[in-house]
Symmetry: C2
Subunit: 426 residues, 2 copies
């Protein structure tokens, strides 16, 4: 059997520890599939983990020295952008291949790092950076390589999907569902990064850059979180035949890439509507194949380690590609130019004429109505002096619905904030 | 750019014609991803297709000459076992890599052909042989390579799933749903191969051999079709919280591989229960990643061509592996040793004591009952002199349920055939 692939591992957090375990536990089958042993040669971490058996690997707390030791590949699992970026640059500079699980780094600096790797002729694996154990990077790069890919849509943040699923199934409100997710370990003590959509946006940027073979301006991704969701909206959506999901979507247009992360009404017959809990799912649309959907665990130490080690196996076989530098940078369109149906919930004073005013404003903006729900006030348990008017529109342009909502908000009969949720065009 | 990969294409049916189109239509992006042009050099087909633009490729009706021309790879799309097997052997013998969409050939002769390819040091691509455009072969071989894979379960025959979906959604009986599928082009005029489960069993054998790195004895796969399904069973299953699907399942045990294709009750909350129409879906379970599910179009010319050309791209990049010869041949267990819950529908004469007799037989075989449905006879529209007793059992061994069903069939109060459907252990 050929020489071992010598791995330098940076970071011993949940994923790093799992990579150590997986390389040891499945060493024989990994070596058989890789064509040679994959050997953990060096480990660097600021914090030693005494409980981990590092086998024959040397250990150091000095991350910076890792690329300069006798390793063939540096596995970057320290996270963050600055230090991780420096480590990846140093590794490529020292002639080491790189495997990383770092979506933030790739979303913000992927284009430059891939250009550097290309210049050095070194492979970069990043299967683990998106959607945990689901082999979606490989699918977009390899299995769907005959296709011009036009659109991606996915549930790529397990925390948010777990919260929405709990709200949907158990009738919990957002705060209770978040607290439960934290108790179960599915949400961080500070959940900002997940529930505000930043994590999903980073993953979307990584996938869109790959699928559309383009630099993606991460700052141009439109990002909304899930905190504004009300249990009432979930119930109305269900009544209209939809499930509320937090989707990451990217579509290639002639003039750029529309990339956006936001709550969306998904028709309940669609598979993505049925993806529950911390599971991730990514739909890819290609011109030859049509739609494929890739589903699996989006997080967790061993699931993510599965993706890291898959990259190492590909590298050992000589199958992990050197990134091709982006030959273009498609403008980020965000939600500009977007046309889709909308869910509107308008808090209205319960008196004659208000509905007519609302209908008149929508009509004047040429927004046609697909469905309306308005309950008699009496059945609202809290007996507030207003009733929600829920409207499902037909296709309407983003700028038009924005203007209409602003105008509706100014009506004398409308009290409080209007809720607006886009309907997914899957 | 490097030399073109010269393709010799055998077969101009639906998939062959689509490969010709796809290579032409997406030539630029395919060449960019492959690192060199993929050139259709020669085409052989017993039947010329005047409407296809073969570009610069030479055409011959002599299939046997194809491997001996100036081609780097032979793409086998003629189907069947004998002629296709001879062509693949001749191609490997002549030093040509092979890409094939032929599940029957691989199920029956894959082990020998892979051994030949290994001896010759030649890659074989067969992504298109299973589940159309879904890159499941690549996922099992590459993206999940760090895992010991323990189980596969899938909906891999679009015809059968289309029929079951139509029965479920539209209340059609089997004959009507089959006729409709034929009218829509989703079922062949002779649907035997699909509805009797042979097609699914071949695909399962191909996937199981790959996932479990073992020769699979195709004759040992347990195969049942869908023709016995009654619309009434679908309704009862729904009432019990299940959807009836035709599943292909393989599980690795210490003493062999249990591979089986049959109707199964799938809990309606499970994703596979929600895969409808001609869509295919494959669930793979690995020790590190857990479960991933891969969904997409399981047939169709362009979807399958997407898989064929993906293999060609991998080959052009030098990433298509030479098959590793099976180092073992795990015994095929079929349903022997299987333990799972069962759905039983027992046609019983509507008179006192029959239910007690049925219960006594089940009790004596230590089969415990999870749920029972028996309707008053009056509500049966056909007013037959018997009523179905529907029973959902807890886990029971295959041999035990077989013996119990045989005994139940001999009861004086039981009239007609007892329906037995396994519950999927997903």
């Amino acid at each position: 059997m050929a020489n071992a692939l010598r791995v330098g591992l940076a970071g011993l957090g949940t994923v790093g520890g799992s990579v150590v375990r997986l390389l040891a536990e499945n060493a024989a089958l990994i070596a058989a599939r890789a064509g040679r042993p994959i050997e953990l040669a060096r480990v660097a971490s600021r914090t030693p983990k005494a409980e981990l058996d590092l086998g024959a690997a040397s250990f150091s707390t000095d991350l910076a020295s890792l690329p300069h030791g006798p390793v063939d590949v540096v596995v970057e699992l320290i996270g963050g952008v600055e230090d991780a970026g420096a480590l990846v640059e140093a590794s490529l500079g020292a002639g080491r291949a790189v495997v990383t699980a770092n979506k933030a780094l790739l979303a913000e600096r992927g284009e430059a790092l891939f250009a550097l790797a290309h210049a050095q002729g070194l492979p970069v694996g990043y299967e683990a950076s998106v959607a945990g154990g689901i082999p979606i990077v490989e699918a977009l790069r390899g299995g769907l390589a005959a296709n011009r890919l036009d659109a991606l849509a996915g549930i790529v943040n397990g925390t948010s999907n777990h919260i929405l699923t709990a709200m949907e199934n158990d009738g919990q409100d957002f705060a209770a569902a978040l607290a439960e997710a934290q108790r179960l370990g599915y949400a961080e003590a500070d959940p900002t990064f997940d529930v505000e959509g930043v994590d999903a946006a980073q993953k979307l940027a990584v996938l869109a850059a790959l699928a559309f073979e383009s630099g993606i301006d991460f700052a141009g991704v439109h990002v909304e979180g899930i905190a504004a969701i009300d249990i009432e909206d979930i119930r109305y959506a269900r009544e209209l035949g939809f499930v509320v999901k937090h989707l990451a979507m990217a579509r290639r247009h002639a003039d750029g890439v529309a990339a956006r992360v936001h709550l969306a009404l998904v028709p309940e017959r669609v598979l993505l509507a049925k993806v529950s809990g911390v599971t991730n799912a990514i739909l890819a649309n290609g011109d030859a194949v049509g739609s494929t959907v890739h589903i699996g665990p989006g997080a967790g130490g061993m699931a993510t380690a599965s993706a890291v080690v898959a990259d190492l196996v590909a590298l050992a076989r000589g199958h992990l590609p050197v990134p091709r530098p982006a030959t273009r940078r498609l403008p980020a369109l965000g939600v500009r130019g977007l046309v889709c149906p909308h869910y509107l919930k308008i808090p209205a004073i319960d008196q004659p004429g208000v509905f007519a005013e609302v209908a008149e404003v929508l009509s004047r903006h040429a927004i046609s109505i697909e469905a309306v729900i308005q309950r008699p006030q009496a059945i609202r348990p809290d007996a507030e002096p207003w009733v929600p008017i829920v409207i499902l529109t037909n296709d309407v342009a983003e700028t038009v619905v924005e203007a209409a909502v602003a105008e509706l908000g100014g009506l004398g009969g409308v009290t409080g904030t209007i809720t607006r949720i886009r309907v997914a065009d899957l």
